[in-house]
Symmetry: C2
Subunit: 229 residues, 2 copies
């Protein structure tokens, strides 16, 4: 009965040069040894409390990262997706600032622009597409993109992140109004971005109570992004 292969995979995403990237690793187990794929592995029923725990462990062990945001994406399953047989993968996605990956990379994490991803084993291509769609959809209505910024950031920086994800410019005034409405940031007193040859920008941080939680709005930041499910 239980001849089902139970795994988890993590779509770890970050922003690099204003382009969304996915973290890939060379597989160290059969099948597809040595091929780039999503970080993932078997669920350890003995050690893992649940699948989220398994995802966190995988991220920690294989990429050396503790993600400030981790959410279940979906479960991918079936007879065809794994040559070993009927399998099931509970997939999580994580967003981290680029420097976190850079710092943690004692391991060989490969960052691939999401438009360049090709030739992945299993149904990892489809999984990544689903994850990217989810991040884009959710970003239009929530504070999700702040997890791509570091601890401190300026509003223009954050706007750039939103624009990179949504793929279109956002009106500056509207953006600030929306961020104000989301009520998720707090200005860091006296902390300004320095070094630039122009007026310095105020630094902000996420309000503590929004760690791992999103602030939502009922109206999209942009206009389109209306994919039919």
């Amino acid at each position: 009965m239980s001849s089902i292969i139970c795994t988890i995979d993590v779509v770890l995403m970050t922003l690099k040069n204003s382009v969304l990237h996915v973290a890939l690793l060379k597989r160290d187990h059969a099948p597809f040894v040595g091929v780039l794929a999503l970080p993932g592995g078997y669920i350890h029923a003995e050690d893992d409390v649940d699948t989220r725990d398994a995802a966190e462990r995988t991220l920690r062990e294989k990429a050396g990262i503790v993600s400030p945001y981790l959410e279940q994406l979906a479960t991918f399953s079936g007879r065809a997706r794994d040559p070993r047989g009927w399998s099931l993968s509970v997939v999580y996605y994580a967003l981290v600032p680029n420097d976190v990956i850079a710092a943690a990379s004692h391991l060989e994490v490969v960052l691939m622009p999401i438009d360049k991803v090709r030739g992945l084993p299993f149904d990892h291509q489809k999984i990544i597409e689903t994850a990217v769609r989810r991040v884009r959809d959710k970003s239009a209505y929530s504070s999700l993109p702040v997890y791509l910024c570091g601890e401190l950031f300026t509003l223009p920086q954050l706007q750039g992140v939103y624009e990179a994800i949504l793929g279109e410019p956002i009106n500056k005034v509207s953006f600030r109004r929306k961020i104000e409405e989301l009520d998720m940031l707090e200005a860091v007193e006296g902390a300004m971005e320095t070094g630039k040859a122009h007026r310095p920008a105020q630094l902000y941080r996420l309000k503590p109570r929004y760690s791992q939680h999103l602030s939502l709005t009922d109206r999209a930041l942009n206009a389109k992004s209306l994919t039919s499910h």
Copy 2:
């Protein structure tokens, strides 16, 4: 390794007397034999193509229903949720018109108002809460509630369904504008709702291409429903 119990469950919902109800069944297997619970069961690796297929089979076998809308909700997992051991349930949710359940009920489906659900085994209570939240959130931005209507329905009927789910009255003019914008319905020529002591209403049906697909909008129909994730 694979001592993981792999199951699927289905949160089958319908609208009855303008109240959202969940379909429950008496369990015919241990544990919790005879107790009301969500329809569900083991994944059959031999028969099921994937988990969606397993959910459809379960719905068919246990409730005699083929749902016009079925979507994956999430996967619930862990050591604690099932007395038999580390388990994992891929949960789907389905919306059907009330008469479909009534017609199919040669079996003992119990419809329970979602506010009255209590004492369910496993983590079914939490699963149902998640499903209800999902349906409410999604209804504010999409055509999802049409699946609670029958084949043909009037706009006032549909508005009533939206209002029942969102839990607040909706402006009639705004509602019609929004439905127009969603562009998902087509009027049935000459078909009107009769028998009422007032002007008859035009009957509509879902445009064919939206079967199992949602039409989305970028602005919510109501104003609130801003749960922090």
